[in-house]
């Protein structure tokens, strides 16, 4: 199979959940960084990406219900790892009705909240190229990744009780292929390559959009999570929340940081100190024993003498 992406198929692990060693904090940028660039301004909402994703991953989304919106299904599921979210926006500046269509799915954060929250060693891994992947054999289905994720992405399967999300087609990337969604997109709204190339491509698109009157067009590569390996070109980059609630400044929740940081260490620390305090107290004071006098006094009360 020919390498169609210009990306070196290196899949070296740099970080594993609940495992010592590996990098901490955001993945440092490298030449091996890959990225998927989703140009929202070129998307026509055909859902070919959704179909390609189901097809490649051999998944089936059960027939759902139509509640009057184009989103189908209505949310990401353990089968639907990528989902077109449709927003009708009445632009107050122009009076135009804009149809904002965003392909939702895992953003492959450089500082992944899911990986930080995961308690199962090696169940979530990060490759040197930036891809964040779930290893289902090691997943215990606790749902901590859902709490760690700033984008509300992972879903627990009812069938096997493990967590699912977009893999950025790590199986395809590892053999020099691009993700299935990018391959299927008829308007080339989805591109895949090195992160540097994708940023260059984004720049040209943003320049074009600006020339067409979208003054706030820009690249969504949020620094709060160290940047992402799925990026968006947005016509309204100043208001990402317009696009079906894309977070303005996503970062790992402070509560999650506290839970997985100070609480984890201080918690075990105070338990150890308490046990140590008991040991020291016992060593210093000796056991508190009932004396012969106590027994005699007790007997006297018992016999009704005192």
């Amino acid at each position: 199979m020919a390498n169609t992406t210009g990306v070196a198929p290196t899949m070296e692990l740099v970080r594993q959940s609940a495992t010592k060693g590996g990098i901490s904090g955001p993945l440092p940028p490298s030449a091996n960084d890959v990225a998927k660039l989703i140009d929202v301004s070129k998307c026509i909402g055909c859902k070919a990406c959704q179909s390609a994703c189901l097809e490649w991953n051999d998944l089936v989304e059960p027939v759902g219900f139509n509640t009057g919106v184009y989103d189908n299904p209505h949310d990401l599921t353990e089968n639907t790892l990528t989902l077109m979210r449709f927003t009708e926006w009445d632009n107050p500046a122009t009076g135009d009705l804009e149809w904002l269509i965003r392909k939702d799915g895992c953003m492959h954060c450089a500082d992944p909240g899911c990986l930080k929250a995961c308690p199962a060693p090696g169940a979530i891994v990060q490759y040197q190229n930036g891809i964040v992947d779930f290893v289902h054999e090691k997943c215990i289905g606790c749902g901590y990744c859902i709490k760690g994720c700033p984008f509300n992405i992972p879903r627990i399967s009812k069938a096997d009780s493990t967590a699912y999300k977009c893999t950025l087609c790590s199986d395809r990337v590892s053999v020099g292929q691009g993700p299935a969604c990018a391959k299927a997109c008829p308007t080339k709204a989805i591109s895949f390559g090195t992160k540097a190339d994708m940023k260059t491509l984004a720049e040209s698109r943003i320049k074009d959009l600006k020339s067409r009157g979208f003054a706030e067009a820009g690249l969504y590569d949020p620094p709060g999570v160290g940047g992402t390996h799925v990026m968006y070109v947005l016509h309204h980059n100043d208001q990402p929340q317009l696009y079906a609630g894309l977070p303005n400044n996503p970062k790992i929740s402070a509560i999650v940081e506290a839970w997985k940081g100070v609480t984890k260490y201080a918690g075990l620390g105070v338990l150890g100190l308490a046990a140590l305090a008991g040991f020291v107290h016992h060593t210093v004071m000796g056991a508190d024993r009932v004396t012969r006098t106590d027994e005699e006094n007790g007997k006297r009360v018992k016999d009704g003498v005192a």
């Binding site: 506290a258 609480t263 984890k264 107290h281 016992h282 508190d288």
Partner: protein, 217 residues
């Protein structure tokens, strides 16, 4: 001397069974909870049949604990209501820690420290149950937001650490104060133990016996 040492009944068989069911659930909850709390303790999941089993079984042990502890609560809450001698006990804690309880007023069935364990555990178990339900994703994930689940997660962890601290105090006190365990194993303590640590209670028990009334729990 053992043949002649008089004893006082402290716990009925039902109360002891209730206590040990609670104790076993709490220990299992602590082990399974800790295994998912810190990666260095993940190996403890092996005790429960692996990570997925630990995740699945932990909340159910919690359910057992809730009912078991509710039983203990009903049995003991009256005896754990505040009493006049509690303030003196708290003030005299340094004396207690030096093993000089004789310098304090006579204590009922439970001293202020034991009452602290009782009410502390009661409150913490309530917190643990309510936060635990929020993060029991298998059945209840749809009822709360991710933001609420994060708060519940942190609350659950901190409350669990506090409960384990209380557990350490509880177990250590039982070890340090010799003669205590027999109350929860055989159901009785020596009269000397009662004289030394819970003299007011000893007098009450003797009075009850002489009055022909049945001993309390």
């Amino acid at each position: 001397m053992s043949g002649t040492t008089p004893t006082v009944r402290r716990y009925t068989p039902a109360a002891r069974a209730n206590h040990w069911l609670t104790a076993i659930s709490l220990v299992l909850l602590a082990l399974s909870g800790l295994s998912l709390f810190h990666p260095s303790l993940f190996f403890l999941t092996g005790l429960f049949g692996g990570g997925a089993w630990t995740r699945a079984i932990h909340p159910w042990i919690g359910v057992v604990l809730v009912f078991s502890f509710a039983g203990l609560f009903v049995r003991f809450f009256r005896l754990n209501l505040p009493a006049n001698e509690d303030a003196a006990w708290i003030k005299g804690l340094p004396e207690v820690l030096k093993g000089h309880e004789e310098n304090l007023p006579e204590q009922g069935k439970y001293n202020a420290g034991q009452k602290g364990v009782f009410w502390g555990m009661t409150i913490l178990i309530l917190v643990l149950v309510s936060s635990g339900l929020v993060i029991w994703d298998q059945y209840f994930s749809q009822y709360t937001s991710i933001g609420q689940k994060r708060v519940a997660m942190l609350t659950h962890s901190i409350a669990a650490i506090c409960a384990m601290l209380i557990w350490i105090v509880h177990v250590y006190a039982a070890i340090w104060v010799r003669g205590t365990f027999s109350g929860m194993t055989r159901g009785s303590v020596t009269a000397g133990w009662a004289w030394r640590h819970h003299r007011k209670w000893l007098r009450e028990e003797v009075q009850k016996e002489q009055g022909g009334a049945t001993p309390g729990e």
